[in-house]
Symmetry: none
Subunit: 146 residues, 2 copies
Amino acid sequence: MKKSLADKIEQYIKVLIDRSSEHKIEIQRSELAETFRCVPSQVTYVINTRFTEKKGYLTESRRGGKGFVRIARFQDNSNLNEILNKNELLVFIDELLEKRAITKKEHEMLRYLVIHGFKDIPVKEKNKLFAAVRYALDSFTQARKH
Amino acid sequence: MKKSLADKIEQYIKVLIDRSSEHKIEIQRSELAETFRCVPSQVTYVINTRFTEKKGYLTESRRGGKGFVRIARFQDNSNLNEILNKNELLVFIDELLEKRAITKKEHEMLRYLVIHGFKDIPVKEKNKLFAAVRYALDSFTQARKH
DNA sequence: CCTTCTTTGACTTTTACTGACTTTTGTTTA
DNA sequence: TAAACAAAAGTCAGTAAAAGTCAAAGAAGG
């Protein structure tokens, strides 16, 4: 299994991120391309295939003079946490039904919302969101009791 | 972290605004240009690209002798947009009730969620979120009809 | 083979910066 | 007081320096 250039660039960037203070680096595409003696679009390729949101990275960039590419790894890396949190919220919603704090119809609707409603929200925000929804539901059902 | 001149001027102005009493400053374009050793139109460029209304700033200026550029940051640029969008979603939810697609209780719960549930989500995400919720609710109620 | 991943390069778009020229406004002077 | 002057700020187009896009060719793996 020979390492492709893309693999090497990927590894290089990951080392940079590891060494950085905030899990965040800023590079210049053209500069990096020169380091590896390849065309700049090769770097773009690496970024698009290896540093995706799904893999736990956020990227930003700016064109033009003094342009840059910023790559940040977010700490609650990934899926696991997201799914966990979504599950936690779903469990909470199930408990509400068990406690008769919500009706069966409401329960059905809420589950649907949680599962399908938050597709486009970045992972980082999603956790906050789930917590917020949980809080809101809690105080709502409390309030409704009286 | 290579900062462009425009970035530096932007930051400089923002610090001035932060230190000001009313989130408002008055500068002289030519003076600032001299400080940064650039042409005055560079300052105009920064103001036009970084201190726009969309980003929460209002600018005024006067030419000629005793000329000036005034930059003011207004409290919550987002509010207007946010509220508008939230309202759109609330209107949609109200319509669902009118169409009998949801019950009164569901309606009540959804309104509460929208109003109280998404407090900590950044504005930028919030709009996407509202759209997502609207979409989810739409398909949910469609599906439930059958 | 066939498919998928990599690499390349020509072309596009965005952003920064500059300088010549214009417009506006206050001040001075005839 | 009207005209000239000076001192601002605005406009705009041009240049350069990035990064992005996309399709096509090439390589690797099954």
